[in-house]
């Protein structure tokens, strides 16, 4: 069997194992969905009028449209925390040692986690998206191509954050530590332009919001779905994602290739 077909076969076996886990024990995934949905409802129904006024008028639905891309990225961040936790949990299991003594593609354990996690992210995005549509979100004039690009970007963000999360999971001694270490994946979107425009933030804080991966990704999504100006955010978002994915992959691989304790 060639290296590639071995990699594909073993990775899909590992993916099936992870999906089986997720299907059998859905509570972790579902719990992580609660935060973005609660934030969505909170900011639309409780703070919505004030926030709308803050971003230049309009009613509650104007703010819902503004908020929507950020909530989707927050959903991805939250889901990848779950990936970090499940990787950390998995690494404490004896079966990982067994996998290491089998003549299988070495990376398949991690690839199975990553692909599984990206699928879960997209499923979570679809669920949260459905909630947003149910409470009134409508894209202004996005074409099919723009929708496709939006999904593509969300998948790319998922891939990048998942590789980082897998590294965090591998470097954590247990599930609790993994959950703490991966918290930035959910905090960073809160500090981006998800809820308010960067211009509206205090001057000293603006660089924090400006120079991080979530802001360009959110601005690009806004552009695709709501027709706002994308500018340099498009390629900036892609560069961030590819960079993080490569970094997370290299980090995870070196952690996994170390001799286990």
């Amino acid at each position: 069997m060639s290296t590639l077909s071995l990699a594909v076969r073993d990775s899909s076996t590992m993916l099936r194992r992870n999906l089986l886990h997720a299907r059998r024990y859905p509570s972790l995934t579902l719990n992580l969905l609660l935060s973005p949905i609660m934030l969505l409802l909170l900011f639309v129904y409780i703070f919505g009028d004030t926030m709308s006024a803050g971003i230049g008028g309009g009613d509650r639905s104007t703010y819902l449209a503004y908020l929507f891309p950020g909530i989707l990225l927050l959903t991805i961040g939250g889901t990848t925390i779950g990936s970090a936790v499940s990787v950390a949990m998995d690494m404490t299991e004896g079966i990982i040692a067994r996998f290491r003594t089998l003549a299988i593609h070495r990376g398949s354990v991690l690839i199975g986690h990553v692909v599984g996690s990206v699928l879960q992210c997209m499923l979570s995005v679809a669920l949260v998206g459905a909630v947003a549509v149910a409470i009134g979100f409508r894209s202004t004039d996005a074409t099919a191509l723009e929708w496709l690009a939006a999904f593509g970007l969300l998948a790319l963000v998922s891939l990048a954050l998942t590789w980082i999360a897998v590294g965090m999971g591998l470097s954590s001694p247990n599930a609790e530590a993994a959950s703490n270490n991966a918290l930035p994946l959910m905090v960073l979107p809160l500090l981006s332009s998800a809820f308010v425009p960067v211009d509206a933030m205090p001057g000293w804080f603006q660089p924090v919001a400006e120079y991080q991966p979530f802001t360009p990704a959110i601005e690009t999504l806004r552009g695709l779905l709501l027709g706002t100006e994308i500018g340099h955010n498009g390629w900036l978002a892609v560069v961030w994602c590819v960079g993080l994915a490569v970094l997370g992959y290299a980090w995870s691989k070196s952690l996994f290739d170390r001799d286990p304790k």
């Binding site: 069997m1 076969r9 073993d10 076996t13 099936r16 194992r17 089986l20 886990h21 059998r24 024990y25 299991e93 004896g94 079966i95 040692a97 067994r98 996998f99 290491r100 003594t101 089998l102 003549a103 299988i104 001799d259 286990p260």
Partner: protein, 333 residues
């Protein structure tokens, strides 16, 4: 400190069969702690080899290295004819490993665990189902096959573990303390399983802390101590170098103890426990003459136990520390 048994067995060792495992000068240390300090192994194909040693002797480290889980610092190792360092994938294709800690996926069922292994050994779907069903049946797990493995008892988990190891029909099987933590019945079942494996021509490398277990199963036994092989040979050869057999007399009355100790003279005294130890091979003849002697000397102990050589004795003998520990493990027979 290699014993004479080792060199004797080496000379008489004319195995024509190729080595399943061979190691020369295997070394491993963690920081400045040396775990394996130059181990040599030669295990003929189709035999059972037991690596015997107490906790922390380096048994698990040896298994981890030989099964490609961790890298050795130094040494020439071949497993199934493949160089461990140069071609670990080829080694992995030939071996099966059951570690000390359960290597089953607790979140999925026993059957799913088996099918997972079949997939990872690249069996066809049909072949995978057949092998899984067959092994589940053989290890008496058919009834529990649809239950999550996390709900299994210790013995069941261990059986599933071994069943999973057997999915790819490995030629060499590593079992790291396969019976530690099992109740007596499960332990005997495990022994039976290992014997059946050997009948099928598989080479078994097992580690254990129990001399009895090595005695039951192994063709050859190596005693690991302080990262070195202290002795190697058959169970009989090892027991012969152990002078640990004795009869232990325990008294409750200090006066009776003192008078017995004076009368018997040639004994090891344990003043704290009020116990005397008389060297003995435990045979009926020697025991009768000992009892006659005690009777004629008018000594009546409150408790008499016959102590046969065990791992403790092997270690005290092999490490040159001849003193008997204050609380020896006694085997009443």
């Amino acid at each position: 400190m290699p014993s004479s048994v080792m060199s004797m067995s080496r000379q008489g060792d004319g195995h024509p069969s190729p080595a399943a495992v061979s190691a020369i000068g295997l070394r491993k240390s963690y920081g400045d702690k040396t775990v394996l300090d130059g181990i040599d192994l030669h295990i003929p194909a189709g035999s059972v080899f037991a690596l015997l040693g107490p906790n922390g002797a380096g048994k698990t480290t040896a298994v981890k290295i030989l099964s490609t889980l961790i890298a050795a610092d130094d040494g020439q190792v071949q497993v199934a004819g493949h160089d461990l360092a140069a071609d670990p994938q080829a080694v992995r294709a030939a071996i099966g490993v059951t570690g000390q800690f359960s290597a089953v996926d607790g979140l999925i069922t026993g059957e799913e665990n088996m099918l997972l292994m079949a997939d990872l050994h690249h069996l066809s779907r049909r072949e995978g189902r057949r092998v899984a069903a067959e092994l589940l049946e053989r290890f008496d797990l058919t009834e529990a096959a649809k239950k999550p493995a996390s709900t299994y008892s210790g013995g069941m988990k261990r059986r599933l573990d071994i069943a999973m190891t057997l999915v790819g029909s490995p030629r060499i099987i590593f079992l790291d303390e396969p019976t530690t933590g099992l109740d007596p019945r499960s332990r005997h079942n495990m022994w039976q399983i290992i014997r059946e494996l050997v009948t099928g021509g598989v080479t078994v490398f097992l580690t254990t802390q129990y001399l009895e277990e090595a005695d039951e199963l192994a063709d050859r036994i190596a005693v690991l101590h302080d990262g070195k092989i202290a002795a190697e040979g058959t169970a009989e050869e090892l027991k012969r170098i152990v002078p640990g057999g004795h009869v232990r007399l325990r008294f409750t009355d200090p006066a009776a103890y003192r008078s017995a100790a004076t009368a018997l003279r040639e004994v090891t005294r344990d003043d704290e426990a009020l116990a005397l130890q008389i060297p003995s091979d435990g045979s009926q003849r020697e025991l009768r003459s000992l009892l006659d002697w005690l009777d004629s000397a008018g000594i009546e102990a409150d408790e008499l136990t016959v102590h046969t050589p065990d791992l403790d004795d092997v270690f005290f003998a092999l490490t040159g520390d001849a003193s008997i520990p204050a609380q020896p493990k006694e085997t009443a027979r």
